[in-house]
């Protein structure tokens, strides 16, 4: 029983991280119809930026994450301008290939700056707390709380602010949105910025319980793709449900089946879902 409770919290924190990373990817897909393969690389850059602000610049942890989110948002917007904007009318294959180019570039760049070493980011949040008779580290509690706070803030942003509503409008009806005077360019940039900021928060949160290295984003990227397919490309609630589901499934499969099962489950679920519903679980059937 304590094992289960412990794993439940592990699953919850992993799910929180997946959520934050997945929402950005799904937003970008919803608005621009681009599966951004460089999302994992952005996650990695976000972790390094947090590391930089925390250890080299000596900024407090939470502020370091916020700064990293800000800087990465800038990088995300830059990426939209330089890479994806010129391709906005090109076939989807072009986006994916260009995104792969950006991913390789970021890997190399980060390795050139910080080297290929594993780096460890010490979190100032230490110690453990007893919940339901089991020890849970404060860092994991922080992850879950932050994820929930960010998700609430995001929902508020999208539902209640002009910018957020413009994103939602474009996501639902591109033509209609441009007819009512929403500038799709602006929305594209905003989306990319937001997606990058969210993934930076995810990376900043998880960095202390994991290691930093230039290819750290590759693993999570594949998982995150699985999540947004699972939830339906472009669906924010889908990303949230999918994120927590996969985080929990992974942890439980590892615990009660085997380590390999934990690693493979994401892909198996993905293939199954797509085989049954080719457009994902939570998408409305697209009318042709």
């Amino acid at each position: 029983m304590t094992l289960f409770v412990q794993q439940f919290f592990n699953g919850l924190s992993l799910g929180g991280v997946y959520c934050l990373a997945a929402i950005g990817l799904t937003l970008v897909f919803g608005v621009l119809r681009i599966p951004n393969l460089a999302h994992g690389a952005l996650y990695m850059v976000g972790a390094y930026l947090t590391y930089f602000f925390l250890t080299s610049a000596g900024v407090p942890y939470i502020l370091a994450i916020a700064l990293a989110a800000l800087v990465l948002a800038g990088i995300g917007i830059g990426m939209e301008r330089v890479v994806f904007h010129p391709l906005r009318n090109a076939p989807h294959t072009h986006h994916m290939i260009a995104a792969a180019g950006a991913m390789f570039f970021l890997h190399s760049l980060i390795q050139a700056i910080w080297g290929a070493d594993f780096r460890r980011m010490e979190s100032p949040i230490t110690g453990r707390v007893e919940i339901l008779g089991t020890q849970v580290s404060w860092q994991r509690v922080t992850i879950v709380i932050t994820a929930v706070v960010v998700l609430i803030a995001l929902t508020w942003f999208i539902k209640r602010t002009v910018h957020g509503q413009s994103i939602e409008a474009v996501e639902q009806d591109r033509v209609g949105a441009s007819l009512v005077g929403i500038n799709p360019n602006r929305v594209s940039m905003l989306t990319f910025g937001l997606a990058a900021a969210l993934v930076a928060v995810a990376a900043g949160l998880v960095a202390p319980i994991n290691l930093l290295y230039p290819t750290m984003g590759d693993v999570i990227m594949v998982k995150v793709f699985a999540i947004i397919i699972l939830g339906g490309l472009g669906s924010i609630p889908g990303a949230i449900v999918g994120g927590f589901t996969l985080g929990m499934a992974e942890v439980m499969a590892t615990t009660y089946v085997s380590a390999v099962a934990g690693e493979v489950i994401a892909f198996v679920v993905l293939i199954l879902v797509l085989a049954i519903r080719p457009t994902g679980l939570l998408t409305k059937a697209v009318q042709r």
């Binding site: 890479v83 391709l87 290939i97 260009a98 570039f105 760049l109 793709f225 493979v264 892909f267 457009t279």
Partner: protein, 346 residues
Amino acid sequence: MKLTFSIRGVGALLVAAALLFAPLILAEQNYLLRVLITGITYAIAVYGLNIILGFTGQLSLAHGGFFGIGVYTMGLLTTDYDWSFWGALLAAIVLTTVVGFLAGLLALRTREAYFAVFTMALGLIIYMIISRWEDVTHAYSGVLGVKLPENIGPLDFSEPATYYYLLLVFLAAAAYVTYTLRVSNVGRRLLAIRTSEDLASSIGINVGLNKQLAFTASAGFAGLGGALFASAEGFIGPNSSSIDLTFELLMFLLVGGVATVMGPIVGTLLVLALFEAFQDFQAYRFILLGPVIIALVIYAPQGLIGRLNELTLRWKRRRAAAPKTPAGPPDSDSPADPNDEKAEVR
């Protein structure tokens, strides 16, 4: 017009000649020959990728995986099960084709981005199986001593040059199939699907079936490339089925030119030559190559060969059609000028 027709072939002939004489030029250069041999096995797989991406417009990210199935079929059958090279080669082609067919049944229910992501997951699963199924694939330990082809009469394939020519035969076959596709009704059906699935079905093309066939053939070629790769290298590991390989194959194709006949081989060798040139800063080569890929996609998405085709087309048109003005629409009653250049529709 006949003249230009032959000019067109000259380029292809030159590439062919360069490949044909490479072992003579590279005598004593085992290393370069080796790079060339590896390149050709990749190029064969790239021809496969070209069928699905170039001709039907679907981006498959499973091709590294299919390549890996070919690699491991050849690798395991010729070692653990002591098959002959030729038997294993046949088995590799058959197996990848069957896997491709089955995968296509599921994958082709999805389209565009979903198809890409689905095939990516597929490729990763194949990679996971190869890298984890220790009892069968030996996982990370890899497979040692993959066989070279058995001698046929006086042909001794342990001689790199002889093996090279064997590969060249397969390469030529792959290129020829692509050429045939390009100029035949089969290819036109596929290209029609790429441009518009709706329009294609409105003229009676069975979109699903044609895509299925294309994907299956495409996987088969990737498997063939993989099997030859395994034999050429002698030692294989799970990396030969990784997603990174998929992206490399994709880059080769993109640089050479999607849906062209010479694109896959030219692109593959060109990029490999670039890799060689950048050997010294291997670790950082993508600081340069990453932006190059992006620039290519933005400014020359048709690839080198595609771009050259366009240029010549424009040049030819300027020359041939200079006096013609896009006059008002023709009177439907007047027959078209029969003296107009005899149409060769290719």
